[in-house]
Symmetry: C2
Subunit: 303 residues, 2 copies
């Protein structure tokens, strides 16, 4: 039951040799997702051995270059490697024009179709679901329209105790109902309560991605209680004024969001290229929210 996030880039607008710009690869129950797609993402996907040919859904938070400039190259590579499966892109509407215009010179006809699903930048919205997983977008507070994303498992079915299958001679027809919480009625009419037959399932896991954004109470509401929160911390508090001006967050603010939203674990990233060392980030975050990790390119997080 894999739910794993690979940080492909934890830098901000100016990529460096050690930190690529934003992109994350997520394997959630064998659904392969990409969140943001900075320049060089296709190489990062190779470097960190992601199953990138299996990616069917790409989520683009906003149209700042360090979050989408690798998208056309990735689509081109999908095409050249023979992909035929459709791909779903979730992002600002204008992305469609950018992709079309840029691709026009070299791939008028891709081997696969792609659809752009427009994000809603004014309220939280369910943008993808299947039988096991759902993804919501929610507005962040940035200089331009920008969304965060929450990837979560759906509520799982109850686990039937194996010994009860034999004890009550449960049939293939009985099992789905019981897994959904129903009681069992034996051939003699006896009612066996669901609680005798099943155990609680594992609680559904969730991951939230917040980049780029200034500190915002509405983010706290949106990500409340997630297992793992990725929140940007472009600056340390010394540059709080610059963070505010550019609609970014400080390390302290990221930690405050995590604490107030009572998340399980915090990951911070989107570090300004000015920070070679990140010790100041540690110093700020630890007292506010001790269960955290500083992102680095290639870091894998188990949700």
């Amino acid at each position: 039951m894999r739910f794993e996030v690979t940080i492909l880039g934890c830098g901000s607008a100016v990529p460096t040799l050690h930190r690529s710009a934003s992109a994350q690869y997520i394997n959630v129950l064998e659904r392969h997702l990409l969140i943001d797609c900075a320049e060089g993402t296709q190489i990062q996907l190779r470097k960190y051995k992601a199953k990138f040919q299996k990616i069917d859904h790409i989520f683009i938070s906003h149209l700042h270059g360090d979050h989408f400039l690798g998208l056309v190259g990735l689509l081109s590579t999908f095409h050249l490697l023979g992909r035929t499966r459709p791909i779903h892109i979730y992002g600002p509407e204008k992305l469609k024009d950018i992709i079309n215009l840029t691709l026009h010179g070299f791939h008028n006809n891709l081997n696969f179709t792609w659809n752009l699903h427009r994000l809603n930048f004014s309220k939280k919205e369910l943008i993808f679901e299947d039988n096991l997983v759902e993804v919501h977008s929610f507005p962040l507070k940035h200089r331009i329209d920008c969304c965060g994303f929450i990837i979560q498992e759906k509520e799982r079915e109850r686990n039937i105790r194996k010994e009860k299958i034999e004890e009550y001679d449960l049939t293939l027809a009985d099992i789905p109902k019981i897994k959904k919480g129903g009681d069992h009625i034996t051939t003699s009419g006896e009612v066996i309560s669901n609680s005798e037959l099943t155990d609680d399932p594992l609680p559904p896991r969730s991951y939230a991605y917040c980049s780029d954004t200034m500190y915002s109470e509405s983010t706290i509401d949106a990500v409340e209680g997630v297992n793992v929160l990725y929140h940007e911390a472009t600056f340390t508090s010394e540059l709080a004024a610059r963070a505010k001006k550019t609609y970014h967050s400080t390390a302290t603010q990221a930690a405050e969001v995590a604490a107030k939203a009572k998340v399980g674990k915090l990951v911070v990233g989107h570090f300004s290229a000015r920070y070679k060392q990140l010790t100041k980030f540690d110093e700020e975050i630890k007292p506010v929210f001790p269960d955290y990790v500083l992102a680095e390119d290639g870091l894998k997080l188990i949700v």
Copy 2:
């Protein structure tokens, strides 16, 4: 008198961990040029320690993604690092729309101006010159409009022999005329021939870039006699039919162009991602044109 080419990417359409797509950084007499700008070029420039803030001229051969998808990211980085000097881009006209549309979301107003100089895809043309250097474009034979480039030094002035300056008491006013080839007339009216006063200058050096193109006689004409020729060799001869179909060249064809054009040295690149090892390229090229080198990312060529 530096004339140095750094290969930033020698792969073709699908970049790999070992070969980036096309881009080259050229320092010619302290003019800093970039030819093509594939995705990830800004990182390659950092990796190979190019003086990338000094680049004032960018030449884009054509609008296949592996030759220009890093351009918008590079412009963005120039802006974020505080560049104010104008930049000149030489490429297909449509590049202007692509840059404008893509940048629109994040940098409506760059700190510097950029101009797109339209390439002529039907004939050879002088596209840049200053007092020491000139750059010509010339048509290549590819699936879409595509140009090669020749970067060359201008004819240098003659070298005055130092001992003659003292012997004839040459003044600051005399020297420029003599460097241009003029004779000297002494105060007593004696004519001193230029050949007594000067030595021949070094012959001007030249570098030609041909990617992407199929084999073409017109390329041979265009690059005749250059000191160093970079010619694409996407495939080996086993895949000659595929090369022809996709308007690319084989290793043998690249070598034939070099031999017929009587260039000084050949560099081949733009290798298809299918070739992990390049020994077959060696086998094909060596018998046809022995003075060659296979490109690799980071390779520096002295012209």
